[in-house]
């Protein structure tokens, strides 16, 4: 079982996620890109757990899944609230935290 291919896939997914976060202006796509990066990390966890035959990696994937779910719930609530108050979806136009 060669895990090099899985590592490459994971890195490609992470790179796509970074591009999505840095270059896209849609809030939802921004959020999906974050999930993409989390998934890339998960894939890396699983492939190395398989490689070293160590189940700790799988346990960590479980924790990452739970944290991702919590993050999605809170983040989407924040997005909904932001949208209700501002009526825009362009990330660059959110500047309420600007000092």
């Amino acid at each position: 079982m060669d895990i090099t291919l899985f590592i490459f896939i994971s890195m490609a997914m992470f790179a796509i996620g970074i591009i999505g976060v840095l270059a896209m202006r849609n809030t939802l796509i921004f959020f999906l890109s974050i999930e993409l990066m989390l998934n890339a990390a998960n894939l890396l966890f699983v492939s190395f757990a398989r490689h070293w035959e160590n189940q700790t990696g799988l346990i960590w994937v479980f924790f990452v899944l739970v944290v991702a779910a919590a993050e999605a719930a809170v983040g989407l609530a924040i997005i909904i609230n932001l949208f209700r108050s501002k009526q825009i979806v362009d990330l660059d136009q959110y500047n309420v935290l600007r000092g």
């Binding site: 090099t4 899985f6 890195m11 490609a12 840095l22 202006r25 479980f62 949208f83 979806v89």
Partner: protein
């Protein structure tokens, strides 16, 4: 890869459907890596819960997201910087030690990645982190409810 579709699709609905495709193929990859439990959890939690929340948000603000169709990606130099960062990160992890990873044994230890083994590890070795993560999730859900309720 389907994940390219996530950031390239114009409409958010298409983009999240591409995300679903990514998740399902990831689940297949997990099965290949003989991690059945994680594969099932992936479909249950991501496809079943997170994506449904995304869909709800998209449906709720459907009219508002019409303006997205006109929304262009950021300027070319910024896109270039993003791509350069991504490639740099990828290459920096691509040290030569990656290339001489020895292939693992084809057959895993008995019951690797099975629900029984993982459950034992989760409840015996990782009991405290497990409880902590439950608490975190509870707090997150309460916080999300509070944020959602405050406006009305």
């Amino acid at each position: 890869m389907a994940s390219l579709g996530v950031i390239l699709a114009r409409k958010p609905v298409h983009s999240s459907l591409f995300f679903l495709l990514t998740l399902l193929s990831l689940s297949a990859l997990y099965l290949q890596l003989s991690a059945q439990f994680i594969a099932v959890m992936q479909v249950l939690i991501y496809a079943g819960a997170i994506l449904v929340i995304f869909m709800f948000v998209i449906v709720l603000f459907q009219d508002a997201y019409q303006q997205i169709s006109q929304l262009q990606a950021k300027s070319a130099p910024l896109l270039l910087i993003a791509a350069a960062t991504a490639i740099l990160l990828t290459v920096s992890f691509l040290g030569k030690q990656l290339l001489d990873i020895t292939p693992a044994k084809a057959d895993t230890i008995e019951g690797f990645g099975s629900v029984q083994q993982l459950g034992q590890a989760l409840y015996i070795d990782f009991f405290f982190p497990f409880e902590a993560v439950i608490l975190l999730f509870l707090v997150a859900v309460v916080g999300a409810l509070y944020i959602g309720k405050r406006e009305t």
